[in-house]
């Protein structure tokens, strides 16, 4: 085993080895995470709604999503007749790949990150913007009016919500003075950002929910209006890829929120004496955030499209701008 | 506008002998009007001006020709007015859909189920049955019915 490892390192060089092994690890993580999150979502929804949720397959039904995954894989990949075949097939891949890349720069703990780029945050946001393109591709190529409407809505929504999202993290960047994820975490050694920039954290969470097309901002796939939005025509594993990407995106935005506002892998201030590794703290915080997002989803009705836009342009962006100016002043004053 | 006013308005349109008061407790209407096919528009205008709404349009099939029944009602107590139009077979009657929008669908339904044609109707298509149906199911010569009677067998002459 050790010899094989040495061979690999000799062959690829130490940097590349980490990336290759890391990507394999990320692939595994994405799958396991999606399986877990789907199960969690169903359980949370069920218990909020006084139901039980999956319970038959495995203890507490935890294997239910694996069974579902097997079902999806074994299903026929239907390509409807009048679709744009190339784009139609490309869209699920295009939505899934950027997700993998984003994981490369996320610091899971002090030592566990694949690549600590000095433009880490930029990479994540650059690639997460990519999923708009994939949705548009899928929606356009499907040649279905519902899909098209979903895709158009999605583009408008994502473009609009990028702005307050980025504005809200700027104040964090001003404080940490770096785009490097590990530096951002280190800058929160004394106090987590969420405690003194709660508004930025709130704006980030709201915009991130909108970015990942989660309720109450799920208008691109609003099931009661657009049947299934941009992925109406997809079936089998292609549909599963959209699904996978959605849940992985959730993990990414929650992980970024943890890194930016909740102190990353650091333990909560008053629990520092516990011998808990950073990875556990990180995952715990991330999944708590994800739980909140799910909780929100199963509570609220959906916004209308124009209200969503109004909310972004009339409330979120001015608020984010105002917040940025105020905090720029404060940080200047402290330093 | 009260029922008396409506009655007055209606007497300008149809003969006074064609307006019969009816007992609500006995048959659910307070006024019955027997109008000819060409009067129905005027009757509908009078009821509209009296702030009545169109409750429903019903077709009836008798051996001596179909009837179309209009029920008008107002948002006040006990004010249902029944308008009865006796038609000959294959006779059409004018639409009141320009007066009451509700009539668009009700007339389509009567056309669909009875084959009674409404002149100048903006959109006289089948509504409940598929577009390619070639029958009018509520006619008494269609399907299984218990009886096919003439109007005299059912209605006594109402005492004016």
């Amino acid at each position: 085993m050790a010899a094989a490892w040495q061979k690999l390192v000799n062959f690829l060089g130490p940097d590349l080895t980490i990336i290759v092994v890391g990507l394999v690890g990320v692939l595994a993580l994405v799958q396991v995470n999606a399986l877990f999150l789907v199960w969690l979502e169903r359980k949370v929804a069920a218990h909020i709604q006084l139901r039980i949720g999956p319970k038959e397959v495995g203890p507490f039904g935890i294997l239910q999503t694996i069974v579902d995954g097997v079902k999806l894989v074994s299903k026929e990949l239907i390509t409807p007749r009048h679709v744009d075949r190339k784009l139609f097939m490309l869209a699920p891949i295009a939505i899934f790949l950027p997700v993998l890349v984003s994981f490369v720069v996320i610091p899971f703990s002090e030592r566990l990150h694949i690549r600590d780029l000095n433009v880490g945050l930029l990479v994540i946001f650059a690639f997460s913007t990519f999923n708009v393109l994939a949705i548009l591709m899928g929606g356009w190529a499907s040649n279905n009016k519902y899909s098209l409407l979903g895709a158009v809505r999605s583009v408008a929504q994502n473009v609009a919500y990028e702005i307050p999202l980025l504005l809200s993290i700027l104040s964090v960047l001003l404080w940490s003075n770096s785009l490097q994820m590990s530096v951002i975490v280190e800058s929160q050694s004394n106090v987590w950002n969420v405690f003194w920039m709660p508004v930025a954290a709130l704006i980030y969470l709201i915009c991130a929910t909108a970015e990942t097309n989660r309720a109450p901002f799920d208008i691109p796939e609003a099931e009661s209006e657009l049947v299934a939005g941009f992925h109406t025509e997809y079936s089998g594993m292609r549909f599963a890829l959209f699904f996978l990407a959605e849940y992985s995106n959730m993990l990414i935005v929650a992980a970024v929120a943890t890194t930016l506002f909740f102190g990353g892998w650091k333990s909560p201030p008053f629990l520092g004496f516990l011998p808990v590794p950073g990875l556990i703290w990180f995952l715990l915080k991330t999944y708590i955030l994800i739980f909140v997002v799910m909780w929100v989803r199963w509570t609220f009705p959906r916004l209308r499209f124009d209200q969503l836009m109004n909310f972004c342009w009339k409330i979120m962006i001015p608020l984010a701008l105002f917040h940025l100016i105020v905090y720029a002043g404060i940080i200047k004053f402290i330093r | 506008m009260s029922l008396e006013d409506l009655r007055e308005e209606l007497s300008k349109v149809v003969d006074a002998t064609d307006i019969f008061p009816r007992d609500y407790q006995k048959d659910g209407c307070v006024l019955e009007i027997r109008a000819d096919a060409d009067k129905i528009e005027a009757v509908a205008e009078a009821t509209r001006d009296a702030d009545f709404f169109l409750e429903c349009i019903t077709g009836l099939d008798f051996t001596n020709g179909p009837q179309v029944i209009y029920h008008f009602n107002a948002f006040s107590n006990l004010s249902r007015v029944l308008v009865r139009v006796q038609l000959a077979r294959n006779q059409s009657l004018p639409t009141i859909s320009s007066i009451y929008d509700a009539a668009i669908w009700y007339e389509r339904e009567v056309f669909d189920l009875f084959g009674i044609h409404f002149d100048n109707h903006p959109d006289l298509r089948r509504i409940l049955l598929p577009e390619d149906a070639d029958f009018h199911p509520l006619l008494k010569d269609f399907g299984k019915v218990h009886a096919f009677r003439s109007t005299e067998e059912i209605y006594d002459e109402p005492d004016a």
Binding site: L149, V227, R302 | C56
Partner: protein, 372 residues
Amino acid sequence: MTNQMLEPITEQTYYLNMGPQHPSTHGVLRLFLKLDGEYIVEADPIIGYGHRGHEKMAESHLYEQFLPNSSRMDYLSGLLFNHGYVAAVEKMAGIEVPPRAEYIRVICAELNRISSHLLWFGTYIMDLGGFTPFLYCFDDRENILDILDHVSGSRLTYSYCRFGGVAKDLDDEFISATRQFIERLRSRWDDYHNLVTKNVIFIHRAKDVGVINRELALRFGCTGPILRGAGVAYDIRKAEPYSVYPELDFEIPTGTAGDALDRYMVRLQEMEQSLRIVEQALDRLPDGPIKAAVPHKVRPPKGDYYFAVESARGALGFYIVSDGTSYPYRLKARVPSYGNLQVLTDVLPGTLVADTISILGSIDIVVPEVDR
């Protein structure tokens, strides 16, 4: 929505078939929409996918035999349709119903009205994207169904009212279960209001959406909560009193603007009023027989009769022409949803697709009732 939206900016309008199979058309309704972007230019509801010919069936059935059909028109308020049909035939044939039977009918009908409104409440919020209130409502509705199941033996298509009375007498268990249910539902209002009524997203989705004012309701013959939402206190239970409603004290809740929010509020308040009716009726429930002596085959005298009751969705009328035999010569059901649905052709143009769902949900149609 302003009318400037009605002017197509470009010629690039397109058609969208919403339904017959769509998550929020509540059955097999098809909306043929002409869209400009997301704005609706023209709407044409296409109905009839569930046409079963109840009116034709009536012509070859005995009056008694049509009884099960009546609750199958509107499966959500089956007892109200039952009541309407039975009361119409009783009025024609001059059958006196014992007071206890009348009270039992009112109690069950009002419970049925609550269950219908609860289901509407849940599905409406589900149309707007909130899934959870739907299941809370089903939890409560289940309770009503259990209660009605206890007395009538079925949960949806009750053929409970019979000519001259009802099929089965109430027992103490029913009465205590109903009183418990009243308590329970009253304790739920707070949760419903916190979860939905006060929710800012819901208010934005429902306010000023799909305004149906008095004039529009008059033109299209809309009745029920739609009309009351527009501020007209018109309720058949008051306007043409039937059964024992004149003896009971209840109010007609009304709205002001006639938008979806008003219709929502009217229905919520109606549930509370129905609870009051049930409470009073339980208190006053007289002893006595539950069924008058009626011949096996009812033979109403010649003539025609129109009888209206207030169903959960509006004025329901049965127009029956009798030729003196035990078969109806013609039976016409004036169903409330028919007029209520047609108003969509006027309300929808100029709104967004998302509003279409909100409006369609707020007028509360039951498609089998429209199709008959």
